[in-house]
């Protein structure tokens, strides 16, 4: 079980909810479950999301494991220069 | 074909070309003669990336009309090294990492060469003002100035 926080525009896309409990062991499972609960998140997930796990920001690599009780933040995919 | 025939000297070699009256020397160097070291950064004489030396005078080749090179001496970056022996300025630019992307570098080397020819022992301020006609967006100029100082010192030592 992990607690996922949706921030900024992602939170708005999930109908304003921003803290959600999800049973998922890796990113792929997390995205699948979130899309089921919040279909409006799907286009965001397709476009690419940054996943922060206990403070470090990762790409949306499906196999990335989510440690038990990890703090997960979903952020929009960042642009750099 | 219509055009003006020009006979000139480039990096010590006699060169002849045909050009339109409104073609710039930069366009001729790059597009007709394959000397792509001089770059077009702006086309209006503001960035110095096209700098060359024309009869001992530093100029923006984008502001020189190609026919104006008739009978004169043109020096470009391609003539700065002698065979495999780099000019001290070229050597010092590499050593001091005075370039990152390198696109402004040919222009800076021409400008620095001209500066040191006229002033072999410049102060930091004289270097900065002497190179103020060349824009660099990557380095912040710090390492460029140090490279010129070091090269000047080396050239004075060798003289």
């Amino acid at each position: 079980m992990v607690e996922v926080t949706l921030w900024g525009s992602l939170g708005a896309a999930a109908g304003g909810r921003n803290k959600i409990e999800v049973e998922a062991k890796d990113i792929r499972e997390l995205f699948r479950k979130l899309s089921e609960q919040f279909p409006s998140l799907e286009p965001w997930i397709d476009r690419g999301i940054a996943v922060s796990i206990d403070g470090t920001i990762y790409r949306d690599t499906w196999s990335k494991e989510l440690p038990e009780d990890a703090e997960i933040f979903l952020l929009p995919r960042l642009a750099g220069g | 074909m219509a055009g003006i025939a020009v006979s000139t000297t480039i990096n010590g070699d006699k060169v002849e070309y045909l050009c339109h009256p409104d073609e710039t020397l930069l366009e001729v160097l790059r597009d007709r003669l394959g000397l792509t070291g001089a770059k077009e950064g702006c086309g209006t004489g503001d960035c110095g990336a096209c700098s060359i030396i024309l009869d001992d005078r530093l100029v923006c080749s984008c502001l020189v009309l190609a026919p104006e090179a008739e009978g004169r001496r043109v020096e470009t970056i391609e003539g700065m090294a002698h065979g495999d022996k780099l000019h001290p300025l070229q050597q010092k630019f590499i050593e001091h990492a005075a370039l990152q992307c390198g696109v402004c570098t040919p222009g800076f080397l021409m400008a620095a060469k001209d500066l040191l020819t006229k002033n072999p022992n410049p102060t930091e301020e004289e270097i900065r003002f002497g190179l103020a006609g060349n824009l660099c967006r990557c380095t912040g100029y710090d390492k460029i100035v140090r490279a010129v100082q070091d090269a000047a010192s080396m050239m004075r030592g060798a003289a």
Partner: protein
């Protein structure tokens, strides 16, 4: 495969990493041999030129290209009709398509409407003049604060503000509203003994790379194509161009030329799909080079902003609440610029109560593209100015005030996640103790300092490491080298293999030779490719050990790799001695063929980075001109692979920030047209504007990289706007709130103070 930081590296003595050898591409660049975007030609090539809108906002009623097509020497003319919409519902790609060539409306001065390919430049220019376009001119809006008003002309009828509680009833230029933060700012402010509240404005700037966009495109009748182009990401360009033109990506080979500066401005396509479309129609290669005017008018500058900041603190110096409302212009198409501003604004601080709200605002200006830590400098300017003012009000030293409130490991960031080990505290302590702080200041002089933050990324990365039979190593990477990364990556390969740097040669491979690589942006070039290089080198070492085992006829478990040699270990074979990489390579033909190591991975966990800058200025009260006397950059690099190039990134970013702070801005007229589309009137710093820029590299290892490397390229542009503004404000005794602080603005501020 994850490659994690090995804490033993803290004590490790690096042989190659951390040294300062000469870069491999140096000689080509100082002799003029290096080839940039416009230095390449293909036989039979045509010259491409683009026709651009002279209006800031208009409907395209009709385009008649017949006269242009009839001009002798013209081989192709295209409009949006030649670029059918193949974006299949991908709104972001549709925006790219429409931006490359307007389909129905032109949305900014310079928006492309048609293009020609002709036998030479004069014919191409003539042809453009023969294209007849009928426009229905519409009212325009170019200012970020004007664009949010009810009465503003609307750019896109289909855009309704996202992110509001109730769905809006009518279209708006506010594309998005985003919110970040935690705690309760109202309750926080109630506890404050001191509050400072101010509004700020920053004008639009451009990355200002000296090399204009340039490419040569060649499409064959069988649909295969070649593209030579200056770009920060040739794989991304391939993907986007293939998608927009309806080609298979595998049929389009993109070769990255040397790049004459990018800074985020060459991460998107503008002219490239147009060049490909022209070539496809003409059946010949097309060379398309932008003029400087086109670069300013029609590529991707930054956001202009309007930001309100309110910060409250107790008299003991603890910040109790911080709030910001940020309006960022995105140009004619929405991006995520306001969101990045809202995320980064308070990222340096440890706050119980923080709230940031960002508005993405559409204006009739070119589509904003990233510029080195996009959106962070503007937000930092506003926040760091208020922090300074608040420190002054409380009567506490500005550095100490920041140290007291700086984020640490375990702090909840203002954008959400909790921080791991970070470097802001150390950069502030280093600033406090830096000799710069003790330099004496004279009349009309002022000192300012500021902090900055940026995310840094990883990304998809492939690397090939091939060992030649002579023992030299070829390293093929996919991240474009913008500032010397080939040298750094060669150092990393040399370090892993235990050989001399001179034996390694790194090249940037084209898209046919390597798997996909994300672009060189987000400070990821060295971070990502070094991770992949380390991984590839370790794979090659496995093979080298196997070959040595074969040569000795012993089990591979009894062979280790040490300092560039295979060493036989153990009781039975310990006396066999060593085999050098050269020796093993020489026999490779007999032991199983070429020796190589490959790596395809997603480099990740790049780690955030922080910087603190100190700036001294002198302002001439008669002219408002500012001279920068001293400038110091202190930034955490994790591990500096090639310290000279890290210094170069620090100095370069600082110089851009200084230009942004003091002079650079886009000036639009009442007619919505850009007035200063050239280097004369868009004034970037020249050599005589700047002093030597002092740098201090801190190394707090990034736990997610084998050597602890963090990205370094971007963060150094974040603090300068605020550091310079704080210095100028201290020098003239007036709080400056409008960037750039050009002489007229400073004079106006001095005069207002005098008469106030």
């Amino acid at each position: 495969m994850t490659v994690n930081f090995d804490p033993r590296y803290l004590k490790r003595e690096f042989q190659s990493v951390g040294t300062r050898p000469l870069r491999p591409d140096g000689i080509d660049k100082v002799t003029g041999r290096a080839r940039y975007g416009a230095d390449f030609n293909m036989p039979g090539q045509l010259v491409g030129r683009i026709l651009r809108s002279p209006h800031a906002h208009a409907v395209i009623e009709k385009i008649d290209t017949s006269k242009a097509e009839a001009l002798p020497g013209v081989k192709a003319v295209i409009t949006a009709a030649d670029l059918p919409n193949l974006t299949d519902g991908d709104a972001a790609m549709f925006d790219v398509l429409d931006n490359c060539m307007a389909r129905r409306k032109v949305l900014y001065d310079g928006h492309a409407v048609a293009a020609v390919a002709a036998v030479d430049a004069r014919t191409a220019r003539q042809a453009l003049k023969l294209i007849e376009v009928e426009y229905q001119v519409l009212p325009h809006v170019t200012d970020v604060d004007e664009a949010v008003k009810e009465t503003a002309p609307i750019l896109h009828e289909s855009v309704f503000t996202e992110g509001t509680e109730t769905r809006p009833g009518k279209p708006s230029n506010v594309a998005k509203r985003v919110q970040y933060g935690h705690g309760d700012v109202e309750a926080g402010f109630a506890q404050a003994d001191f509050i400072v509240e101010r509004s700020f404005k920053t004008e639009q700037t451009h990355q200002g790379y000296i090399e204009p966009h340039a490419c040569v495109a060649s499409v064959g009748p069988d649909g295969t194509a070649d593209l030579w182009v200056c770009t920060q990401g040739h794989f991304v360009y391939r993907q986007h161009c293939a998608q927009l033109l309806g080609m298979d990506a595998s049929k389009l080979r993109v070769t990255s030329s040397e790049i004459g500066g990018g800074f985020g401005g060459k991460t998107h396509v503008w002219a490239e799909p147009v060049a490909l479309a022209l070539s496809r129609k003409a059946g010949r290669p097309v060379k398309l080079v932008m003029t400087r005017d086109e670069v300013f008018r029609a590529t991707g500058p930054t956001s202009a902003t309007s930001i309100d900041v309110k910060i409250g603190a107790r008299k003991d110096g603890t910040i109790v609440a911080a709030e910001a409302t940020l309006r960022y212009s995105s140009g004619a198409y929405a991006g995520m610029w306001a969101e990045l501003g809202a995320m980064t604004a308070f990222a340096c601080y440890r706050l119980e109560n923080v709230k940031t709200v960002g508005y993405e605002v559409l204006v009739n200006r070119p589509k904003t593209a990233p510029y080195r830590a996009p959106s962070s400098p503007q937000a930092a300017f506003a926040v760091e100015s208020v922090i300074d003012e608040l420190a002054h009000k409380i009567g506490i030293d500005p550095v100490d005030f920041r140290i007291k409130n700086a984020a640490q490991e375990g702090t909840r960031s203002s954008y959400g996640p909790i921080y791991g080990p970070i470097g802001i505290g150390p950069t502030l302590e280093a600033a406090k103790n830096h000799p710069h702080m003790k330099a004496p200041l004279g009349p009309n002089q002022g000192r300012g300092m500021a902090c900055g933050f940026w995310f840094n990324f990883g990304g998809q990365t492939c690397t090939d490491l091939n060992i030649g039979m002579d023992g030299t190593v070829s390293l093929a990477v996919g991240t474009v080298d913008v500032g010397g990364s080939r040298a750094s990556l060669s150092l990393v390969a040399a370090e892993e293999l235990g050989i001399d740097y001179s034996q390694v040669r790194a090249v940037v491979a084209d898209t046919s030779s390597l798997g996909y690589n994300d672009m060189t942006d987000g400070s990821r070039g060295t971070f990502s490719s070094s991770m992949a290089t380390i991984s590839a080198a370790r794979n090659a070492i496995k093979v080298l050990r196997e070959r040595a085992a074969q040569m000795w006829d012993i089990p591979v478990e009894e062979v280790i790799w040490e300092k560039g040699h295979a060493v036989a270990v153990g009781e039975k074979h310990g006396n066999l001695g060593r085999l050098s990489l050269k020796q093993i390579a020489a026999e490779s033909g007999k032991t199983g063929g070429p020796i190589a190591g490959h790596s395809e991975l997603v480099a990740d966990g790049a780690g955030v980075s922080f910087a603190t800058h100190i700036c001294d200025v002198e302002v001439d009260p008669a002219t408002g001109a500012t001279k920068v006397l001293r400038y110091t950059v202190i930034q955490d690099a994790g591990k500096a692979v090639h310290p000279t190039y890290v210094e170069g990134q620090y100095q370069g970013g600082a110089a851009q920030g200084i230009g942004w702070a003091l002079n650079e801005e886009y000036i639009y007229g009442e007619d919505g047209r850009l007035q200063n589309a050239g280097f004369l009137d868009y004034r970037i710093p020249v050599c005589s504007d700047l002093p030597m820029i002092d740098t201090q590299i801190l190394e707090i290892p990034n736990p997610n990289h084998p050597y602890g490397v963090r990205g370094v390229g971007e963060t150094s542009i974040v603090p300068p706007l605020a550091a310079v503004a704080n210095a100028v404000s201290n020098a003239v005794g007036v709080r400056m709130t409008h960037i750039p602080m050009s002489p007229p603005r400073i004079l106006a501020a001095i005069e207002a103070k005098g008469s106030g």
